[in-house]
């Protein structure tokens, strides 16, 4: 397979320090019972195309399971995709589970249906970014990239 334009762009961004996702390890997880996985898969595929090592959990994973996978896989960040309105509880539990495993340095970002009113609360709870369907995929990647570089 030849080098596509997309590969070239990723390589250029990486070389020029615009995108440093190459080699970063990211876990994309679907906590709770919500089965809407399109957004999670779009972001997982895009992160992989941008050079990250992506692990996708599949559906219905508990915060405890997600935290254990995150530690076992030695990831830099965990992305939680939630569309059923249970994001507050799930984020709090995931933060606790990571802390219990001494892995509080793993960053957490979230996506899905997250009302604007809840954003501040999630940030306060320890989330580094909230990415909704309105954003372009490249904007999401840039934001994650910036968080992981920080």
């Amino acid at each position: 397979m030849g080098v596509t334009l997309k590969d070239e762009i990723v390589a250029w961004k990486t070389d020029n320090g615009i995108m440093s996702l190459k080699g970063k390890r990211i876990l994309i997880a679907k906590p709770g019972l919500d089965g809407h996985d399109v957004g999670a898969k779009i972001i997982a595929l895009a992160l992989r195309d941008a050079g990250a090592d992506v692990i996708y959990t599949g559906l219905r994973k508990s915060p405890d399971y997600i935290a254990r996978v995150a530690v076992d896989e030695d990831v830099d960040a965990v992305g939680l995709s939630m569309l059923s309105g249970s994001h507050k509880e799930i984020v709090a539990e995931t933060v606790d589970c990571l802390a219990a495993l001494d892995a509080g340095d793993i960053k957490i970002f979230v996506g899905g249906t997250i009302p604007a009113d809840d954003h501040a609360g999630l940030i306060a709870a320890g989330v580094c970014g909230i990415y909704t369907a309105e954003m372009t995929v490249d904007d999401v990647l840039s934001a994650i990239d910036k968080e992981l570089a920080a």
Partner: protein
């Protein structure tokens, strides 16, 4: 590819570009549309008459003149008592059809006290973990005089069993029950995710509900084969219909395997779709799908009875075609989509509220959604004659093109080895994820114009939306308390005996499980207990995680 400039997001940079000044010649399904369609490009032989095979122009000879479509709005939240209050209000307002939204624990087979369930109790619908909750939900409502639609799949057989049991308790003969359970598990594996058991026993459970319903509740639709969710997940209109018809064929094969008479059960199969924004593609999707289903029933299965060849369907207008920026624009989108549904000949329509993209609809937004349908029904005049677009060169040409595309999708799945295998392997899931990425990419780059999102943005994108519906924070505690009371006060020996009988029946492929499930409901066994019993026999679906 546009690149984010300093201080700008890619989104903002794109929005400053001039929008295209010509329409895109390709439909979202990728069909290239000629500038003008001329009579020589159309074969009118398949158009036929309304109410006659192959039903291109509709299943009724008089269209909506006999009866308008059913306006069916989706609601249900928090506790059974709150939903009951809302339903009584809606019934007082003249609504005859109820639509029950269930919470995720009920849909996935967990009781409200299960650690997997606690965060989700009452969140996206009502919690119905046992018969006592269903009795509360229908308290003071005669289930023999209303039609109830349950949006449930993995545990649809249990919800249906509960509905039969509540009818028994109210003294309503089961044959008077009308309504629908979605009960379409194949698309759950692919898109919506409330699967529980492996594919084969799930197919058996669905066949059992349909065959039981044909005998005991002949006016009830025990399945609504849904394309809506794969569409919302990323498929094109052609793929949505192609996958759905392929699923319909898979259920038909399973029903025949379990001894069903296709002339009989096919009369009760119904379908469910999304309507998105490409107006003529949506209209032609329904005309083409209706015709193709009739042909498949007749040519593959030798179905003779026109009623068993008929493709009956309901729709949702909105879904992922609605966006969060400049949300009032969504009212126009839903209006356009509703017209497409009517012109395509839908039997029932649900219109999403304009704020549904980002919150639970408020009473205000829900009312506008309802009024949209009433304006189209009573003011626009488009329901006046049957299939008013029939015979249009473009509409008939596009109907033909889409039918060919749908047949191509069905053949591709059959070449893979059938729907069941495609789902078990994760092949369909992977295709849909790829489609979703393509659709997102087209929106991101501006190839697809989305007004207010990738073009025509302004500074305050969400102006005018203030009211936010809030769930009762005590709802979960109330549900758990009621659940524990039922567990404490029921005749536990009877509950255990009913579950033991269910377990034995599940091990025997020759048994129909419905009577056993109804017995469990009467004994106040819970959804979690019934599902755990069946899991013990059948195991769980192992999600093929492929990217």
């Amino acid at each position: 590819m546009s690149k984010a400039t300093k201080g700008h997001t890619e989104q903002e940079a794109l929005a400053e570009r001039a929008p295209p000044d010509k329409p895109n010649p390709f439909t979202p399904s990728g069909i290239e549309v000629p500038v003008v369609v001329t009579p020589d490009m159309v074969d009118f032989a398949d158009v036929g008459q309304p109410g006659q095979y192959p039903f291109t122009r509709g299943i009724f000879e008089n269209g909506f003149r006999g009866r308008l479509w059913t306006i069916r709005q989706y609601s249900g939240f928090g506790t059974a008592e709150e939903s009951n209050e809302r339903y009584r209000f809606l019934l007082d307002q003249g609504q005859t059809g109820l639509s029950v939204a269930l919470d995720l624990p009920t849909q996935c087979g967990y009781d409200p006290v299960d650690p997997m369930a606690r965060a989700e109790v009452g969140k996206v619908g009502v919690s119905l973990s046992n018969l006592a909750e269903v009795e509360l939900l229908f308290d003071g409502i005669d289930v023999g005089s209303i039609s109830t639609s349950f949006t449930i799949n993995g545990t649809a057989s249990i919800s249906y069993a509960m509905y039969c049991a509540v009818a028994d308790k109210q003294g309503v003969p089961r044959e008077k029950l009308t309504g629908t359970i979605q009960n379409d598990i194949l698309k759950e594996y692919v898109a919506r995710g409330t699967w529980i058991f492996p594919v084969k026993p799930s197919m058996r459970l669905i066949a059992d509900t349909i065959l039981f319903s044909n005998e005991q509740t002949p006016r009830f639709n025990a399945i609504s084969i849904a394309g809506a969710h794969v569409r919302d997940a990323g498929c094109t209109a052609v793929e949505e219909m192609g996958y759905t018809l392929a699923n319909g064929l898979a259920y038909t094969d399973e029903l025949i395997r379990r001894g069903g008479d296709v002339e009989k059960f096919a009369r009760r199969l119904s379908f469910f779709f999304y309507v998105h924004m490409d107006f003529f593609e949506e209209i032609c999707k329904f005309r083409a799908g209706r015709r193709l289903w009739a042909k498949l029933m007749k040519e593959r299965y030798g179905v003779e009875d026109p009623k068993a060849q008929m493709f009956r369907f309901g729709v949702v207008c909105g879904g992922s075609s609605l966006i969060g920026s400049q949300p009032h624009n969504n009212i126009v989108r839903v209006g356009t989509e509703t017209m497409a549904a009517v012109l395509g000949g839908a039997q029932s329509i649900f219109t999403c509220a304009f704020d549904e993209a980002f919150q639970i609809p408020t009473e205000h937004s829900a009312e506008i959604a309802l009024r949209t349908q009433q304006i189209i029904a009573h003011e626009s005049g488009i329901a006046r004659t049957v299939d008013p677009l029939g015979g249009s060169y473009y509409v008939e040409w596009l109907t033909d093109q889409m039918e060919a595309g749908m047949m191509g999708v069905i053949e591709e799945i059959e070449q893979y080895g059938g729907v069941e295998k495609a789902v078990e392997d994760g092949w369909l899931q992977m295709k849909i994820a790829q489609r979703a990425s393509e659709r997102k990419r087209a929106a991101d780059t501006g190839d697809t114009v989305i007004v207010g999102q990738n073009y025509y943005r302004r500074d305050d994108q969400s102006e005018g939306v203030g009211e936010v519906f809030k769930l009762d924070p005590q709802a979960t505690a109330k549900v758990v308390e009621k659940y524990e009371r039922v567990r404490d006060t029921r005749d536990s020996a009877a509950a255990e005996a009913s579950l033991a009988a269910l377990e034995k029946a599940a091990a025997d492929d020759g048994e129909n499980l419905m009577p056993y499930l109804i017995d469990c409901c009467h004994a106040y066994a819970t959804v979690g207990e019934m599902v755990a019993t069946l899991k013990g026999q059948w195991g769980e679906f192992e999600e093929p995680v492929r990217l």
